[in-house]
C-alpha cells in the first residue's frame, strides 16, 4: 500500500483509462503545459497528440465534441480547467450530453467524462473559486462525482469509465497535494455508495470533497469535547446515497450538512430534504446547515477564509444542534 497524492491518483487513473483505445483526452493546456493542475504532465510525449488533444479556449465545442465522439462509440475524457468555465459549456453538457439518451428514446449512449476542478481557498477571486457541482447534480441524465481522497479519486474514476452516461468528475483544487493510501491491487469505488469516514453516536455530519476533510478535523475536536460525531462523505452527488445518510441519522438523531457553496440552492438542501423525508421521526433537533457565505468570493485572504466553512463553524453548528 503506497502513499500517493490526489494528483498522482488522477494521473494514474488517466493512464489506466488510456489503455482503452477508445479513450482520448482533450482540453485547454493539457499538452505541453501538462494541465493547469499538472495531472497530465508528460502525457503528450508519452501518448502523442491524437490521444492527448490540445484545444483552443472553446469550452462549448470541447464539451460538445466530446459528447459527439461519445455518441459515435468513443470514450472521450474532456478537461474543463475549472468548474467556473463550465458555464461556457452548459448548453453542450445540459441541453445535449445529458439529454441525448432520453430524447432519442434510448437510441444514443453518451459515455462522456468531463473532468473539472471546484472549490475556493486559493485567492483567485470571484470567478475562479466557485463550487457549482450541485447544479449539475440537479440535472437528470448526468452523474456527478466528488472525490475527497486519492483512494476515492482513483476508485471512482475507474467506476466512471464503466458508465454509459455522462459523468461530471469534480476534483477539488486544494486537494491535489493531499496524500493518502492507495492499494496496488485493483479496486473500484462504486457510484452511489457514501463513505462512513468516522463512526459516531451523537450527530451525523454529511459532507463531500474538501469539506469531508474539514468535517473530520472538526469531529476529532468534538471528540475531545465529549461529542461523538459520525462523518459521512457522499462521494457521488448523483447518484445520491440516501440510505447511508438516513440510517446514520436514525441512529444519531442529529444531523449537520456541510458544503462549500452558497446556502441558497445549495446541494445541502437536497440532503436536508431527504433526511426529513426518511428520518423525521428520529430527529431530536432541526437539521443544521453549514455553507459558504452568500457573497462573490473575495480576493483578500482573510475575507476569503471568512467565507469558506471551517472546523469552528462545523463545531458550532454541531453544538447548537445538540443544545450545548
Amino acid at each position: 500500500m503506497a502513499q500517493i497524492t490526489y494528483r498522482e491518483a488522477m494521473s494514474r487513473a488517466l493512464r489506466e483509462a488510456l489503455k482503452d483505445e477508445r479513450v482520448f483526452i482533450m482540453g485547454e493546456d493539457i499538452g505541453s503545459y501538462g494541465g493547469a493542475y499538472a495531472v497530465t504532465k508528460g502525457f503528450l510525449e508519452e501518448y502523442g497528440g491524437e490521444r492527448i488533444r490540445e484545444t483552443p479556449i472553446s469550452e462549448s465545442v470541447i464539451s460538445g465534441a466530446g459528447a459527439g465522439a461519445a455518441i459515435a462509440g468513443l470514450r472521450p475524457i474532456v478537461e474543463l480547467m475549472t468548474i467556473n468555465f463550465s458555464f461556457l459549456a452548459m448548453d453542450q453538457i445540459i441541453n445535449h450530453a445529458a439529454k441525448v439518451r432520453y430524447m432519442s428514446g434510448g437510441q444514443l449512449t453518451c459515455p462522456l467524462i468531463v473532468r473539472t476542478v471546484t472549490g475556493g481557498g486559493a485567492s483567485v477571486g470571484a470567478t475562479h473559486s466557485q463550487s457549482l457541482e450541485g447544479w449539475f447534480a440537479s440535472v437528470p441524465g448526468l452523474r456527478v462525482v466528488v472525490p475527497s481522497t486519492p483512494y476515492d479519486a482513483l476508485g471512482l474514476f475507474r467506476s466512471s469509465l464503466q458508465q454509459e452516461d455522462p459523468v461530471i468528475f469534480v476534483e477539488h483544487a486544494l486537494l491535489y497535494s493531499s496524500r493518502g493510501e492507495v492499494p496496488d491491487e485493483q479496486y473500484v469505488v462504486p457510484f452511489g455508495k457514501a463513505d462512513i469516514k468516522r463512526i459516531g453516536t451523537d450527530v451525523t455530519i454529511v459532507a463531500y470533497a474538501r469539506m469531508s476533510m474539514v468535517a473530520m478535523r472538526a469531529a476529532e475536536d468534538l471528540e475531545s469535547r465529549g461529542i461523538s460525531a459520525e462523518v459521512i462523505d457522499l462521494r457521488t452527488l448523483s447518484p445520491l446515497d440516501g440510505d447511508t445518510v438516513a440510517e446514520s441519522v436514525r441512529k444519531t438523531n442529529h444531523a449537520v450538512v456541510v458544503e462549500e457553496t452558497w446556502y441558497t440552492g445549495g446541494f445541502g438542501a437536497t440532503v436536508v430534504g431527504l433526511i426529513q423525508e426518511r428520518a423525521f421521526d428520529y430527529l431530536n433537533a432541526p437539521v443544521a446547515r453549514v455553507a459558504g457565505s452568500e457573497v462573490p468570493m473575495p480576493y483578500s485572504r482573510y475575507l476569503e477564509q471568512a467565507s469558506i466553512p471551517n472546523e469552528n463553524r462545523i463545531i458550532q453548528a454541531v453544538e447548537s444542534t445538540l443544545g450545548r
Binding site: S60, G64, A69, I71, Y102, L108, Q163, D165
Partner: protein, 326 residues
Amino acid sequence: MKLQNAPEKNQLLDFYRQMFLIRRFEERAAEQYTLGNIRGFLHLYIGEEAIAVGAISTLMLQDYVVTHYRDHGHALAKGMDPSVVMAELFGKATGSSKGKGGSMHLFDIGKRFMGGYAIVGGQLPLAVGLALASKYKCEDSLTLCFLGDGAISEGEFHESLNLASLWKLPVIFFVENNLYGMGASVEQTLVFHDEIYKFAQAYKMPAVRVDGMNVVQVMEVTNKAVESVREGGGPYLIEAMTYRFRGHSMADPSEYRNKSEEERWRKKDPILSFSKWLIDEKIASKKELDQIEQEIEKIVDNAVQFADESPFPEPAALYEDVYGSK
C-alpha cells in the same frame, strides 16, 4: 437548368419522390396539428425540400447527419420510416424516440441520423465530435451538419468551425439561409449577412453558395464538397439560399414578411419547378409523376393511420432511458 454530370433518370425521379414525400408528410402533419393530434412546436420545412434531398443524396449509409429543430426533411431524406416519424410527432410509443423526443428531436441511429437539436447552434459541436470520431477511428465516414442562418450569430458556430478546421475533420457545415431567424430578418441580426458563406474564409475553409431551390444544383455542389472532405481536405461550408413558405412554427402567422417577397419565392417552389423541368426536358411524363404522387399519398396515409392507431407510452416509460447505467 444546366447539368454538369446529368444524373440518371432514376435518381431524378427519386429526388421527386423524396421531395414530394417531405411536402405531403408535412402538409398532413400541419393538418394533424390543427386537429390537436400533434402538440408543442411543429416547424415545417415546406419550401426547403430541395436542400435535404439534394445534399443527403450524396452521402453513404455510414455518413452521419445532424441537424436543427426543423428536421423532418432531413430525417426522411436520410431514410427514416415516415410512419415512425409521424408516430413520434403524435407522441406515441411507436415513435422513433418512443414519444419522448417530439418533432424537434428525431433520431435513427441505424441510419446514422444522429438527431434534430433544438438549441440554435447546439448541433455544431456534436457534429465536430462525430467527425472527430470518424477520423480517430480511421473510418471512411463524414458528417453533414445542417444549420440555419440564425446559428451564425452563436458562439458555437465559430468555436466549431475553428476546431473542425484546426483538426481537418471530415464535416460539412450546410447553412440553410432562409433569410429569417424566427421573426427577425438576417439583415437585422447579422452584419455580414449578404454573403454568409464567406465566414468560412476566417477559418481557411472552402465554401460555396448554391441555389437552395434547385435539387440538382444542391446535389452537385454537395458532391464536390463530399469529394473534397473524403480526400482529406478538411471541413467545408455550403450556403444554400432558400425560403420557408410557412411561418417559423405552426404558431407563427409570419406577419413580419411582406407578401410580395413571399410570392416571389413561391414562384421558385423547388418541387413545382423541378416537375416542370422534368416534363419540359422530357425526362419524365406527367403520368409518371402522378404515379409517384399517388404512391406517396398512400405512404403518408399509412403513416397518419399508424400514428393515430398506435398507443401512447405507458406511464412506466417516464423513468426509462434517463440513464444507461444504474
